[in-house]
């Protein structure tokens, strides 16, 4: 069974992926009952967007025309993939994040499912100068054991060339962080499969040599986190003291509050005497939006401060911080990159606007719309945004992202040299703030 890249379910990029890979039309040979459920699913998607999108005018998009054009293609679809692609194409017309179709297969890991798809290689990817580059390898992970190193160029994974997928996504999408995030997550998804599965891959190493490695996928790392119809994610939390004494915290999703919040609180307790905190939100794909308020409450002691506002058709809600005691009052550096998405952007941008944190790295994805996920009559999941999110300065995060105070983008050369420019810049800043 093909595994749906779980990260996409969170960030809502599947629609754009589907649009980039539109299948050919063909006469219907689908069972009538499934065809009926697909049509019902299209109708549900269409009416939900009509009724729930925060902008009743949909930014000028002729939504009736979209239905007139695309609904017949659902009826003509020969396969589920074709029907799904049409639904995704309808959502892609909105040109916004957090509108996506989650294939029913992604729900195999619900309770009672096999869970066999959750294997991991323990590496992550970034798109640097148009190429898929290994940006991090978890020590001791299958990728590490296979000798894969940061900075290597990923040429082929599992017998499939990487470049066509990366280039396919690039077609029809504006160049920028959002596209790079989608490309990176798509390449990362190639490294998924059941635990124990060998994945062969070809790289260019740091010396320009082509190298082949076989990675035997390991069990998922982190704590499984479930939230409604969101396919299971794994929360990975890391905290440690860096050279110079600064505290460092990284986590990959804003999920599972009963695990995440105590872990974050415990880390801050250990860092109270530290010269500062590095909050690394690179690669954090978001999750529960309100957790940005929860995390921010540990860092901002003033009351009635807010990160921003979300606006639905029914009204506006403020992301007000609830100060926690004792508040962490040391300097805070936040690291972001193009795979800092959604809630990660809400927190980073909010702390930046409040003057509570200095942001380092590269511009975030600009994909930050409060959303919900429902199941459709055909079994697929349907993620849709129901609110816009606006920073305190009045600018939406969607399409803009968080621009760092200090640009320190990742480069292949830095990776090969074992350097982390954003972290280095953050530590320099913290060191300069330290009281002698």
């Amino acid at each position: 069974m093909r595994r749906f890249p779980q990260a996409l379910a969170v960030v809502g990029l599947a629609a754009l992926l589907a649009a980039a890979c539109r299948p050919a039309r063909a006469p219907s040979s689908m069972p009538p009952d499934l065809q009926a459920r697909n049509l019902a699913s299209f109708d549900r998607v269409w009416s939900t967007v009509r009724d729930r999108h925060w902008d009743p005018g949909l930014g000028g998009l002729d939504w009736e025309a979209v239905r007139t054009e695309l609904r017949p293609r659902v009826a003509q679809a020969r396969t589920q993939e074709e029907a799904r692609a049409v639904l995704s194409e309808a959502l892609a017309r909105l040109g916004q994040s957090h509108f996506a179709i989650v294939p029913a297969e992604a729900y195999a890991d619900l309770p009672g499912g096999t869970g066999e798809e959750a294997g991991t290689a323990g590496l992550s990817t970034r798109i640097l100068a148009g190429r898929a580059i290994v940006s991090a390898v978890i020590p001791g992970s299958p990728a590490d054991q296979a000798g894969i190193r940061p900075g290597w160029i990923e040429r082929a994974i599992g017998g499939q060339e990487v470049a066509p997928a990366v280039e396919g996504i690039a077609r029809g999408m504006q160049d920028g962080p959002f596209r790079w995030a989608l490309q990176a997550l798509t390449v990362d998804a190639r490294w998924s499969g059941p635990s124990g599965k060998p994945v062969e891959a070809t790289f260019d190493d740091g010396a320009g040599q082509e190298v082949r490695r076989t990675v035997v996928l390991g069990p998922p790392s982190g704590t499984p986190a479930r939230l409604g119809w969101l396919p299971t994610q794994y929360l990975r939390f890391d905290s440690r003291t860096l050279a110079g004494g600064a505290g460092y915290v990284h986590f990959n999703v804003f999920l599972d509050p009963p695990t995440l919040m105590p872990a974050f609180e415990g880390a801050l307790d250990r860092f109270r005497a530290a010269p500062g905190l590095v909050l690394d939100l690179r690669g954090n794909i978001g999750g529960i939006g309100l957790l940005a308020m929860g995390i921010g409450g540990w860092l901002v002691g003033d009351r009635n401060r807010e990160l921003g506002t979300m606006t639905t058709r029914e009204g506006t809600l403020r992301f007000v911080l609830n100060p926690r005691t004792p508040v962490f009052d040391r300097p805070v550096a936040v690291l972001v990159d193009e795979v800092s998405i959604s809630t990660a952007e809400i927190l980073a941008g909010g702390l930046q606007d409040l003057g509570r944190a200095r942001v380092f790295g590269s511009r975030s994805a600009g994909a930050a719309l409060p959303s919900a996920i429902e199941r459709l009559p055909n079994g697929d999941g349907f993620q849709y945004a129901f609110a816009n999110y606006v920073r305190t300065g009045g600018q939406p995060l969607e399409g803009r992202g968080v621009l760092p105070d200090v640009e320190a983008p990742l480069t292949r050369e830095a990776l090969l040299a074992g350097r982390d420019p954003a972290l280095e810049a953050a530590l320099t800043w913290i060191r300069e703030r330290a009281v002698p």
Binding site: N322, D329, A372
Partner: protein, 263 residues
């Protein structure tokens, strides 16, 4: 949600209401009838505690959890929702202070309008003694609800804020819908609730299903058990993490605080 649960028990009127428009019964009469058709004053006066358990569901989202509501006369209340993947959210009042402890945003002492609303919701005998809770009550119209006429009653809390609007089925006398604006930490939220599945519990007929629509989302509360057994007083004690918020701030650390970024 808290508002919705609480309003199940605080639905009545105020003293000396103005005369209603012609042909409309006084609001007090409608609310008194509600008490009568759902068990009668004697049954209401008998109970001094309530405990409800059930489920909380975000409709269509695959999110479902457990629900516990406890309330004791005259003014104590505690609600707890536990949702897998989110954690626990507890709201409570001891009649003086009101608080919330959320796995997502932490402990919080409620203040201002939010506190007033929490205290109002906790009024145990609001149905029997609405004058203690509401400054004004008025029957404003008859409105068709699902094809059946309903009296629309506006209730203005003594503590201020916008009126709560209740809809009583003209034929059965039961409350079938109410709307209110709740004050939350994030701002005001207008909520509309539908009450269904009335069944007797402990001598009172109560709705077992409440569907609440707010901010475009639907929450369904389903009550499975109902008890009038005494609730231990400690249930309503302020949690330690909330008490800590009332303590003076600790002395600043020896090292200097964070400077403004951007330097």
């Amino acid at each position: 949600m808290h508002l919705c649960l609480a309003l199940l028990w605080t639905l009545s009127a105020a003293q000396a209401p103005p005369p209603p428009p012609a042909a409309l019964p006084p609001a007090k009469q409608i609310l008194d009838r509600y008490v009568e058709v759902t068990g009668g004053r004697a049954a209401y006066e008998k109970g001094k505690h309530r405990t409800l358990t059930g489920t909380f569901e975000l409709k269509g989202m695959g999110m479902k959890g457990s629900l516990l509501l406890q309330q004791s006369a005259p003014d104590k209340m505690r609600t707890q929702i536990d949702v897998p993947g989110v954690g626990s959210i507890v709201k409570g009042t001891d009649g003086i202070q009101a608080w919330e402890v959320s796995a997502v945003t932490g402990p919080r002492l409620l203040e201002g309008t939010e506190k007033s609303e929490a205290l109002l919701e906790a009024a145990f005998d609001a149905d029997l003694h609405p004058e203690r809770t509401y400054a004004k009550m008025e029957t404003v119209r008859v409105e068709d609800l699902d094809g059946k006429p309903a009296y629309v009653v506006e209730l203005t809390p003594k503590s201020g804020g916008a009126p709560r609007v209740s809809y009583y089925d003209k034929e059965s006398g039961r409350l079938i819908k109410f709307t209110a604006t709740a004050t939350t930490a994030m701002g005001e939220v207008h909520a509309e609730s539908r009450l269904e599945d009335y069944r007797p519990e402990g001598g009172i007929v109560v709705p077992h299903r409440v569907t609440l629509a707010a901010m475009g989302m639907e929450q369904v509360l389903t009550f499975d058990t109902f008890s009038m057994d005494p609730v231990p007083a400690a249930t309503y004690a302020m949690p330690a993490e909330v008490k800590a918020l009332l303590q003076p701030a600790p002395a600043p650390p020896e090292t200097a605080p964070a400077p403004a970024p951007g330097k």
